[in-house]
């Protein structure tokens, strides 16, 4: 699972949606893998305005990445190729292959296997 994907995920439990602590989810025991894909500056440029930057920073920090800018790049910064390449690597090329995603509100943990997170809930949480 890409970090870009994780930016658009939260707890599947209905009651957690309104709770601020349910977002972002927290990775546990994450095994990372780098999967290179072609750098598409336009794609990154268009996607960045839609990223929840604080959510990305929290996740990247928990995974031990040093290089996320404090503030979301805007204006001229979106034309800086090195910044865009760094974000391409973090958002699209960094995959969590195994591990868990944990909700900070209810504590439920979702398994990630072979790069796919499973959000099916046990019946008592539906």
């Amino acid at each position: 699972m890409k970090l870009l994907t994780a930016n658009f995920l939260t707890c599947a439990v209905k009651g957690c949606k309104a709770a601020a602590s349910s977002y972002p989810l927290h990775f546990k025991d994450a095994e990372l893998e780098l999967q290179e894909i072609d750098f598409q500056p336009e794609f990154i440029h268009n996607i960045i305005p839609r990223i929840d930057w604080e959510g990305l920073r929290v996740m990247a920090n928990e995974l031990g990445f040093p290089k996320i800018p404090d503030l979301k790049p805007e204006g001229d910064a979106l034309n800086d190729e090195q910044t865009m390449r760094d974000l391409h690597r973090v958002l699209l090329e960094t995959h969590v292959m195994e591990g868990r995603l944990c909700c900070g509100n209810c504590g439920h943990e979702y398994m990630i296997k072979e790069g796919i997170a499973n959000f099916l809930l046990p019946s008592h949480l539906v």
Binding site: M1, F8, E42, N46, I47, R50, I116, N118, L120, S123
Partner: protein, 240 residues
């Protein structure tokens, strides 16, 4: 209204769909996938028309055939079947998770678009079908004075399909078990295997009614080759 002989009691709905929809797709995933490769024209058009950088969902993505249409947007696809989600994972730059349409793992009011193609007809009661649409609408951005709201394209199988090989039409039973036949391979013997999936076949204007019951607004709707489709939005300043 259609007879409800196939439809289970409230408590058993989960288990019923587990047996008659989810387990079947798990078992037929690869064969099903090999027969599903071409996006339908209106789905293709809807996805092609999106602005680059749009973020959306493909709820019940199956093998991900609709993920190949537009690589300038980002789609978080989901399916109830782990086996289908694994097949769909191949479509870069998009991404796939395993999730249930009634409990989607996405924040409220966040997405520019969603598609749910040939999925909602697998839910076994009117409440669950409306609930599924409500869950999709929940994830869409509401319209404001400055930003257009998110749009969801929903497709369901039509009862009115008298020219199809099934031949069903208005007045026929809406809740059905539909066979999926997997021919045996030479190495595994020649006995074909038959699986049955539950479907609720939609009649004219029923999809629009379900969207309305889910609190949505129908922007456009129509019929395309044995299916009813509609584009739904959350009610916003322009529709109220």
């Amino acid at each position: 209204m259609a007879s409800n002989t196939l439809v289970p009691s409230q408590q058993e709905e989960d288990a019923y769909e587990e047996e008659n929809v989810h387990q079947v797709y798990q078992q037929i995933a690869h064969h099903f996938s090999s027969t599903r490769y071409k996006p339908w024209p209106i789905v293709k058009q809807f996805l092609t028309d999106l602005r680059p950088g749009s973020i959306g969902l493909d709820v019940g993505c199956g093998n991900g055939k609709n993920l190949s249409v537009n690589k300038d947007v980002f789609i978080v696809a989901s399916d109830r079947s782990v086996n289908l989600a694994r097949i769909a994972q191949a479509h870069q730059p998009h991404s796939t998770v395993v999730a249930d349409i009634l409990s989607l793992p996405h924040p409220n009011s966040s997405f520019d678009f969603a598609i749910s193609i040939a999925v909602i007809h697998h839910l076994s009661t009117p409440e669950r079908r409306v609930g599924a649409i409500r869950e999709i609408l929940r994830t869409l951005k509401p319209a404001s004075d400055t930003v257009p709201g998110g749009k969801a394209l929903i497709y369901v199988w039509a009862l009115e399909q008298k020219d199809s090989r099934r031949g069903w039409d208005k007045g026929d039973q809406q809740d059905r078990m539909v066979p999926w036949v997997m021919k045996g391979t030479a190495s595994a013997g020649s006995e074909p295997q038959v699986f049955h999936r539950y479907y609720h076949l939609y009649q004219a204007s029923e999809l629009e009614q379900d969207i309305s019951d889910a609190g949505g607004y129908v922007l456009d709707s129509g019929y395309e080759k044995d299916n009813w489709w509609a584009i739904a939005m959350r009610p916003g300043p322009k529709s109220s």
